[in-house]
Amino acid sequence: MVNSQGIGRACAQGLAENSAKVIVVALRQQGIDRAVVELKGENLVAAGVSADMTTVEGARKAVSFARDTFGDPGIVVTNVHAGELGRWD
């Protein structure tokens, strides 16, 4: 279970190339769809789900989707945004 852009996308590629069945999780469906299509286009195994991982419900949704699609997840890679540029003041 990884995300759909940048480092997360590269991790999805690396894991899938090493025979993992990858679930791409992000907020925006467009990015998910693009990543999944690209991975499948290389004959890699992938599916995707939109979920807000900042919420308990979002995490539950992602894990349920993974279990229903490929079985119990054995690997989780989180790549969480930590905020914008800004000072304390």
């Binding site: 991982m53 995490a59 997840p73 969480v80």
Partner: protein, 147 residues
């Protein structure tokens, strides 16, 4: 809270399998606070993530589940480019000059690529990384000063 939420949801399934890999990607603020750039939320939250990583790793180690952090240095992603573009604009310098300065501070002399993060991630998720847990692995071209 994302990594706390997802860790809670998956650890039961991993325990049942007696195998699991959790890799939490963060930043070099896990080792050394950002000083050149105003990234206060990174400096604060990544320290907490490091403590969480170690605590969860201890708890899950007996179940053959490893938990590790990857500390991201300057990696050429869309988010990195938007940060640097905004920072260059705010500080009155060109984007190119800013990146040249960043590269000069990195011992390997360049910005990293997402695939270089993925290589470390893939290894930590593999069976070969079975004796590595609770660690923060830095992928930064040698930028961080700490031992």
């Amino acid at each position: 809270m994302s990594l706390v939420n997802i860790s809670r949801k998956v650890q039961g399934h991993m325990r049942e399998q007696s195998w699991g890999r959790i890799v939490n990607i963060g930043s070099i603020a896990m080792k050394q606070p950002h000083r050149k750039f105003p990234l206060i939320t990174h400096n604060v939250t990544r320290a907490g993530q490091t403590a969480f990583n170690r605590t969860l790793a201890d708890e899950l180690a007996p179940h053959n589940i490893t938990v590790n952090n990857l500390a991201t240095g300057a990696i050429r992603t869309g988010k990195f480019e938007s940060y640097m573009s905004e920072f260059a604009s705010k500080t009155g310098q060109s984007y190119e000059a800013l990146l040249a300065g960043i590269s000069a501070d990195i011992p390997v002399g360049r910005i990293g690529e997402p695939e270089e993060m993925a290589a470390a991630c893939t290894f930590l998720c593999s069976t070969r990384a079975s004796f590595i847990t609770g660690q923060t692995v830095v992928v930064d071209g040698g930028e961080v000063d700490t031992l």
